[in-house]
């Protein structure tokens, strides 16, 4: 057992060889991983100051609530609007103090605690080589197309799944349960997270997958493949906005504020499109990468603000459960 402890201690050292007092940023895994926007943002911010960013990854909100006042976080990034109310309720956050004029988002922004940094529409993505008859509205998808198979994410475990449940509620209102029931026979599978669904889609197991309007941009830009498209519905698409917030009890308030100010800078924002494959919160269209201009975008953007989303959460999950059970 002693050798175990020695090895374990050795392993600890691998992870902690970092200089004094970096800015601790809690971020979701996809954000801070080598393949997300995190590393480029870290490099850009560190170039502007003699400081260091330390990402801590994982489920941001549960971790924060677990830690409460003890948290080591200075800044939290990657909180979805649908989760924001719960984060606000912890009372751990301070105002962002950033001017939100000139945001390039289709929804108004009045939250003074959580600052948006990127956004995207929830959408059903399909492969043009496999789907000829594309639904031209959400209603059309629900009522017709009996052979079109779908993979979605569970609203009880995934933010994109929750966004779809809110989307269904927004579009179908009282009939949301019926709409779920109508979709249910075609929903081949409900996965825990986005990756499993999307993997099944790219492997050809389903014709459509719950994803984002920006997903085709990845295939277009990174793989030179223009066969992936998002179906655009005139009823509108639910918008997921990702935000950042600074902790009230941070021991480095100036550095935390500097990072908050950095978020809406062009330097940060221009990393987002091809870093997170989503739409920056504040970037003029002419600065967007080429492939994004070719994307089909919905004209109507739907969203519940964080308080409404929180109030509706149980309702829309009950609609999902009731509709799917009726299958």
């Amino acid at each position: 057992m002693r050798s175990t402890i020695t090895i374990a201690a050795g392993l600890t050292l691998i992870g902690t060889a970092v200089a004094a007092e970096p800015l601790t940023v809690y971020a979701p895994d996809y954000f801070a991983s080598e393949w997300g926007p995190g590393p480029a943002i870290k490099a850009a911010f560190e170039a502007s100051c003699s400081c260091e960013i330390d990402y801590v990854t994982g489920d941001v909100l549960p971790r924060l609530r677990l830690e409460g006042e003890r948290t080591r976080a200075d800044v939290v990034i990657g909180l979805n609007t649908d989760d924001a109310e719960r984060a606000r309720a912890t009372g751990l956050f301070a105002p962002h103090n950033v001017d939100t004029m000139g945001l390039t988002m289709p929804v108004d922004w009045e939250d003074d605690v959580f600052l948006p940094f990127n956004w995207g529409h929830t959408a059903f993505v399909y492969d043009t080589t496999r789907v000829d008859d594309v639904p031209d509205s959400f209603r059309d998808l629900v009522d017709n197309h009996p052979d079109l198979t779908l993979a979605i994410q569970d609203p009880r475990t995934s933010v994109s799944g929750l966004a779809m449940a809110l989307w269904m509620h927004r579009v179908f209102g009282e009939e949301a349960t019926d709409a779920w029931a109508a979709l249910a026979p075609r929903i081949v599978t409900v996965t825990k997270g986005w990756s499993e669904s999307y993997g099944m889609f790219t492997d050809g197991e389903v014709e459509m997958v719950l994803s984002y309007t920006t997903s085709p941009a990845y295939h277009l830009i990174a793989e030179d493949d223009d066969t992936k498209k998002a179906a655009i519905f005139p009823e509108g698409h639910y918008v997921m906005v990702e935000t950042a917030g600074q902790l009230a009890r941070t021991d480095q308030p100036d550095l935390a504020q500097a990072f908050m100010d950095f978020i809406l800078s062009e330097e940060f924002q221009s990393i987002i499109p091809e870093g997170n494959w989503s739409l920056p919160a504040k970037l003029p269209p002419e600065r967007m990468p080429e492939g994004f201009a070719a994307l089909a975008m919905p004209e109507v953007a739907l969203i519940y603000d964080s308080a409404e989303a929180e109030a509706l959460r149980d309702t829309v999950i009950a609609e999902f459960e009731a509709g799917m059970a009726a299958r």
């Binding site: 057992m1 175990t4 090895i7 374990a8 201690a9 392993l11 600890t12 691998i14 992870g15 902690t16 895994d29 996809y30 991983s33 080598e34 393949w35 995190g38 990402y55 801590v56 990854t57 994982g58 489920d59 909100l61 549960p62 971790r63 609530r65 677990l66 830690e67 003890r70 080591r72 719960r86 198979t149 569970d154 009880r156 475990t157 929750l162 249910a184 929903i187 081949v188 599978t189 409900v190 996965t191 825990k192 986005w194 990756s195 499993e196 999307y198 993997g199 099944m200 492997d203 050809g204 197991e205 389903v206 997903s215 990174a222 494959w277 999902f320 459960e321 799917m324 059970a325 299958r327």
Partner: protein
């Protein structure tokens, strides 16, 4: 009580604490009590039902395969035995994609059925959940039952042959008692694994009706942040595991033969074309069922392996370190706990050792996080915690392999050792290690393979520069890089199987 047994009882106490303290910590950290929900009854029922069917099917299918492997020698048999172990250590997401490639709507099976003008079969629903669980656990059952078969002393088979036993007699008098001895424990372990799985149930269950207790825990923790509910469900799962463990203790019968000369002897009951065909079919079908899904997924990653960035290889190194440390810890723990389990009042060592498979990894990880928080920065402990949790979670498998062997050792050599006054390290070196090399190697190999492939805990703790290979795999998938993710999966499988093979080889060179 010998030193070993005493150590075993201490280790058992430590494991019990490691299971219960985190649960208590989660409950303590909870804000208010929420109690059960109306839908929990259905969740519990589905969990138990699918676990029962999955475990029973896994074992029923494993028996003929294990028997075929026990009595046949053919070129490449070692490879077959090794590769059959692979599904068990596969990351869930990879296994699901593999099963979908074979049994999915556009998979090989349905394409073939389509040619034959037969209607498609659906993998989604309870049948998919069970299929996936059998895919994961049948190899484990095969391996564990095979251990039992190989432990039948050669003298008995020689005697059986000289008495002119028909295959039926061999089964009734030699093999059935052996199965009675090992199967209840194996059934229990697989049953418990199936009660704690949830990513499979969700991906192939096809909807909210296929909700398991572990999924409800995940939901309570991740989405509702209802720690009291997570702790409550975690406790339910542990109680279930405890009840099942006690039940299986009662069902397990000692095989009850005398000792043999402890040498392997060729099987003399394997002649005859009927048996030959039967065994070949069993092995062939098992290979098809278990290997085809893996080949289909992993081959897609083969081309991308060379293009992977260095960070993926570093993650592999980290996984390797975690695997080796966990293997060492588990094997040592299991060795002393098996001694305690075979001694007086040893039942609790077996129950506690089995229980850890019923512990929710999520509750365990969260509880450890809560416990560590006041003392150190939990993020800096990511890898040690991963090692610790894996060492505890792999314990039931190690004990499953070790306890029967230790029991035989005690029965066959206990009196001789006692009369020679052999004890302590001399006993370990001269009696235990040579006789137990095979199950010890198996336990170490399995733990290493499982720990290398584990995602559960690291995801709760890690910072980006501590990512292990399974975490990197998920990161790649989350960034649309499905090809690279499959390449990472290929490395992961190679790493896990390599470790398993090395440890097993060390064990196998003891005897046969």
């Amino acid at each position: 009580m010998t030193t070993g047994t005493r150590l075993g009882h201490i280790a058992t106490g430590a494991v019990a604490a490691a299971l219960l303290l985190p649960l208590g910590a989660v409950a303590w950290r909870a804000e208010g009590w929420s109690g059960f929900r109306a839908s929990d009854g259905h969740v519990l029922w589905f969990t138990l039902w699918q676990a029962m069917v999955s475990a029973a099917l896994s074992i029923l299918l494993a028996v003929p395969v294990a028997r075929a492997l026990a009595r046949r020698r053919f070129p490449g048999r070692g490879w077959v035995v090794l590769l059959l172990g692979a599904p068990f250590i596969l990351p869930v997401i990879v296994a699901v994609l593999g099963l979908v490639a074979v049994f999915g709507r556009t998979g090989a099976v349905n394409t073939a059925l389509g040619w034959a003008d037969l209607g498609p079969v659906s993998i989604y629903g309870w049948q998919g959940v069970i299929l996936a669980h059998v895919f994961f656990n049948m190899p484990l059952a095969t391996r564990l039952i095979l251990q039992g078969w190989l432990a039948v002393p050669g003298e008995r088979l020689r005697l059986a042959a000289s008495l002119g036993f028909a295959p039926g007699d061999t089964f009734r008098l030699l093999e059935w008692p052996m199965l009675r001895g090992v199967v209840p424990g194996i059934f229990l372990v697989i049953f418990l694994i199936c009660t704690t799985s949830f990513a499979v149930a969700l991906a192939l269950g096809g909807g909210p009706r296929a909700t398991t207790v572990e999924l409800a825990i995940y939901q309570a923790f991740r989405f509702d942040f209802d720690l009291s509910r997570a702790a409550l469900l975690g406790a339910v799962q542990l109680c279930l595991g405890g009840a099942a463990a006690l039940l299986s203790l009662r069902l397990t019968l000692p095989s009850g033969f005398g000792a043999g000369l402890d040498r392997a002897v060729p099987r003399w009951d394997s002649g005859g074309w009927g048996l030959r065909v039967q065994d070949s079919a069993a092995i062939l079908l098992a290979c098809l069922f278990l290997l085809l899904p893996m080949v289909l997924v992993l081959s897609q990653g083969a081309l991308a392996v060379t293009g992977l960035p260095a960070s993926v290889w570093w993650a592999a190194v980290r996984s390797l370190a975690v695997a080796l440390t966990a293997a060492l810890a588990t094997t040592a723990l299991a060795f002393v706990m098996a001694q305690a389990a075979t001694g007086a009042r040893g039942g609790w060592a077996e129950v506690i050792g089995t229980l850890s498979v019923a512990a929710s990894p999520l509750v365990l990880g969260t509880g450890l996080y809560v416990l560590l928080l006041p003392v150190v920065n939990p993020v800096s402990m990511a890898l040690p915690v991963t090692v610790f949790v894996n060492a505890v979670l792999a314990l039931p498998f190690a004990l499953r392999a070790l306890i029967p062997a230790m029991r035989d050792l005690d029965r066959d050599y206990g009196r001789l050792s006692a009369s020679l006054g052999l004890g302590g390290l001399a006993w370990v070196r001269l009696v235990a290690l040579p006789r137990l090399r095979r199950p010890l190697g198996f336990a170490a190999g399995l733990t290493a393979a499982l720990a290398a492939g584990d995602l559960g805990v690291i995801a709760l703790f890690a910072s980006p520069d501590q990512a292990t290979l399974p975490l990197v795999l998920y990161q790649l998938m989350g960034a649309y890089r499905m090809e690279d993710a499959k390449a990472a999966a290929l490395i992961l499988v190679a790493l896990s199987l390599g470790l398993f093979w090395l440890f097993e080889r060390g064990g196998r060179h003891a005897g046969a």
